[in-house]
C-alpha cells in the first residue's frame, strides 16, 4: 500500500481537494446525526446532551399537529405526479420531434422548451406570481374579463399542489426530452424501414417499435426518481410559495418542514426527520439500483 501511494503520489494528491470538500460537507456532518437520539441543548453540545432514544422519531409520526404524516404525504404526492407527468410529456415531446421536419422550426422550438431549465426556482416563482397574483395576475384578469369571480390564489391552498406540479413539469420537460432523444438516436433505423415496408403506419411504428425500445430508459430514470421520492425539492417549494403560512399545510414537503421547524422545534427533532428521510432514501436507492441492474443487463444506476 505504501509503495502504491509513493508511486502514484501525484494522482492521490489530485484527489485530495475534492475528498476534503466531501469530508467537510458530507462526512463530518454525519457525526451530527447523533443529535437525532438526544435532546440537544447548546450548553451540553452534541455529545453531552441527554440521550432520549427514539423519542424524536415518535414525535414526528404521532404528534397531535399531524404535521409529520402530512408532510410525508405531500412529498410523496408531489413527487409521484411529477414523476408521472414528467415522464409522459418528455417522451411525447421526443417522439413528436422525430415526426416533424424543418431545421429552423426544430431548432427554435427545442431552444424554447429547453430554456426553463436555465431558470432558478426564484425566477419561476416570479413567473407563477405574474400568473396568479390577486390584483394584477394574468389568470384573475382573464377570469374577470370572462365575468367570473376572481380568486385569491395566494390564500387558497387547494390549488397549489397542481400549480407546483405543473411548474415542475414545465421546468424539466425540455431537459428530460433531450435524454429520451439521446436514447432514440441509438435505435436501429432498419426496424422502421422494415415496418413501413410491411405497411405499418407511423402511429403503429411508434406503438410497436419506439415505445418498447425506449422502455429501459424510462425504467432506469423512473427508478432513479423513486429512489429519491422521499426527498422534496426545497428550492421549488420555497421559490414558488416561500414561507406563506396559508399555503404551508398543503405544499410543505419534508425538506421545507425540516427547515422551518429547525428554529421552533429544535435541532434534535429536525435531525431525526432528516435521518428518517436519508434512511428511506438509502433503502429505496439500493433497491432501485438492484432492479435497474436486472432490466438493464447488469448496468446499475452508478
Amino acid at each position: 500500500m505504501r509503495k502504491e501511494f509513493k508511486k502514484n503520489r501525484e494522482l492521490y494528491l489530485m484527489c485530495v481537494p475534492a475528498l476534503l470538500v466531501l469530508l467537510a460537507f458530507a462526512y463530518i456532518p454525519m457525526a451530527g446525526i447523533w443529535m437525532a437520539f438526544t435532546k440537544y441543548n447548546i450548553k451540553d453540545g452534541i455529545f453531552g446532551s441527554e440521550f432520549v432514544g427514539l423519542q424524536n422519531f415518535k414525535y414526528f409520526f404521532t404528534s397531535s399537529t399531524g404535521m409529520g404524516p402530512k408532510v410525508i404525504k405531500n412529498t410523496l404526492v408531489i413527487n409521484f405526479w411529477g414523476l408521472i407527468f414528467g415522464t409522459i410529456l418528455p417522451i411525447t415531446i421526443a417522439i413528436c420531434f422525430n415526426e416533424v421536419r424543418g431545421k429552423i422550426f426544430k431548432k427554435v422550438t427545442q431552444s424554447a422548451m429547453f430554456f426553463p431549465y436555465f431558470l432558478s426556482w426564484v425566477v419561476v416563482g416570479a413567473i407563477v406570481y405574474a400568473f396568479f397574483s390577486t390584483d394584477t395576475g394574468m389568470v384573475n384578469r382573464m377570469l374577470a374579463s370572462g365575468g367570473h369571480d376572481i380568486v385569491r390564489w395566494y390564500a387558497e391552498k387547494k390549488y397549489w399542489k397542481p400549480i407546483i406540479i405543473t411548474a415542475d413539469v414545465w421546468k424539466w420537460a425540455g431537459y428530460n426530452s433531450i435524454i429520451y432523444m439521446a436514447a432514440m438516436t441509438n435505435f436501429d433505423a432498419s426496424l422502421y424501414d422494415a415496418a413501413s415496408v410491411d405497411g405499418a403506419n407511423r402511429f403503429q411504428q411508434i406503438l410497436h417499435i419506439t415505445l418498447p425500445l425506449i422502455k429501459p430508459t424510462v425504467v432506469v430514470l423512473s427508478l432513479m426518481s423513486i429512489g429519491r421520492i422521499f426527498f422534496g425539492d426545497f428550492g421549488m417549494i420555497y421559490g414558488i410559495v416561500g414561507n406563506n403560512s396559508l399555503l404551508y399545510e398543503e405544499v410543505a414537503v419534508i425538506d421545507t418542514y425540516v427547515y422551518s421547524a429547525m428554529r421552533s422545534l429544535g435541532f434534535s427533532y429536525t435531525t431525526a426527520i432528516g435521518l428518517f428521510q436519508s434512511v428511506m432514501g438509502l433503502i429505496l436507492v439500493t433497491l432501485s439500483n438492484k432492479l435497474a441492474k436486472k432490466v438493464n443487463e447488469g448496468e446499475g444506476l452508478f
Binding site: 463530518i28 456532518p29 451530527g32 403506419n201 406563506n244 436519508s278
Partner: protein, 300 residues
Amino acid sequence: MNRRKTKPFSADFWVKAFAYFLIAFLAIACLYPLIMVLSVSFSDNTAVTKYGYSAIPQDFSTDTYLYLFVHSGTRILRSYAVTICITIIGTILSMIITSMISFALSIRALKYRNQIAYICNFTIIFSAGLIPWYYVCTNWYHLTDSYAGLILPTVFSVWSMFLMRTYFDAVPQSLYESAKIDGASYMKIYVSIAIPLCKTAMLTVGLMYALGYWNDWWNALMFINDRDKFPLQYFLYNILSNVNAISSGRVPSGAAANIKLPSETVKMAVTMITIGPIIFLYPFIQKYFVDGIMTGAVKE
C-alpha cells in the same frame, strides 16, 4: 427512417399534425411567460396596476430600469457584483477540484481508484441531512455572512465528476503512457494532454457549474443575513416573499401600509435583470448543455 410523402388525412398525416401542434404549443407555453415578464418590465407601472399583466408592453417605458440602476442606490448593483464574483471564483475553483479528481480516477494505473470513487458515490446515496450540515457549517466552519458560505458547500459536485470522468475515460491510456515514458509527470500530462483533449468537456461542465452558482440562493438563504452580501437571486427572492406575505392577506393591513411594496414593474424588471445574462448567452451555451445531457444519458 422512411420519408415517404404523407397522404392527407391518413393515419400518418394525423400523427404529423399532432406532432407539429404539440411542439408548437409547448414552445409557446415555455416562451410566453418570459415574454410577459419582459413586457411588464418595460411597461408603465400605473398601466400595469390598472390593466394587469400582459404580453404586450403597456405605455412602453424604461422608467423601471432607470429607477433600478440609477435612482435606487447601489443595492441591486451590489447584488449583481456579488453574483458575478461568486460565479467566476466558484466556477474556477469547482473546475480545478473536479477536473483533477476526474483525471486521476481515469488513470487505470491508480490502484485505489474504485475505493476513492466509492467514497464519492456514497455521499449521493446517504447524507446526514440538512440540520447536521447546517450545524457544522455555522458552528464549526463559521460560514454565516461569509462569501465562502456561498461557494464552498457546493464547490464539488459528484454528478459533475461522473460526467467529466465519462469524457476523460474516453482518452486512450496509451497517450498518457507514452508521455510517461518520456518522463512527463502526471501533473504535466493533466495540464498539457488531458485538458486540451477534453476542451468541450471542460466547457460543458464549467458552464453547468456556472449556471449553478448564478442560480443559487439556497446557500444565501442558509448563511447570509447581511443585505450587502445578498446575491441577485436571493435579492429577488426577498422582494417576492414580501409581496407574497401581503397578497395572501397574512400581514394585517395596518402593517402592510408601512411596508413599501416594490411596484409590479420593479418585480418583473429584477426578474429580467436576473435572467438577462442567461438570455444573452443562451444561443452560444445551449449546445454544450445538450451535449452534457446526452453524454450523461448515453452512459445511463
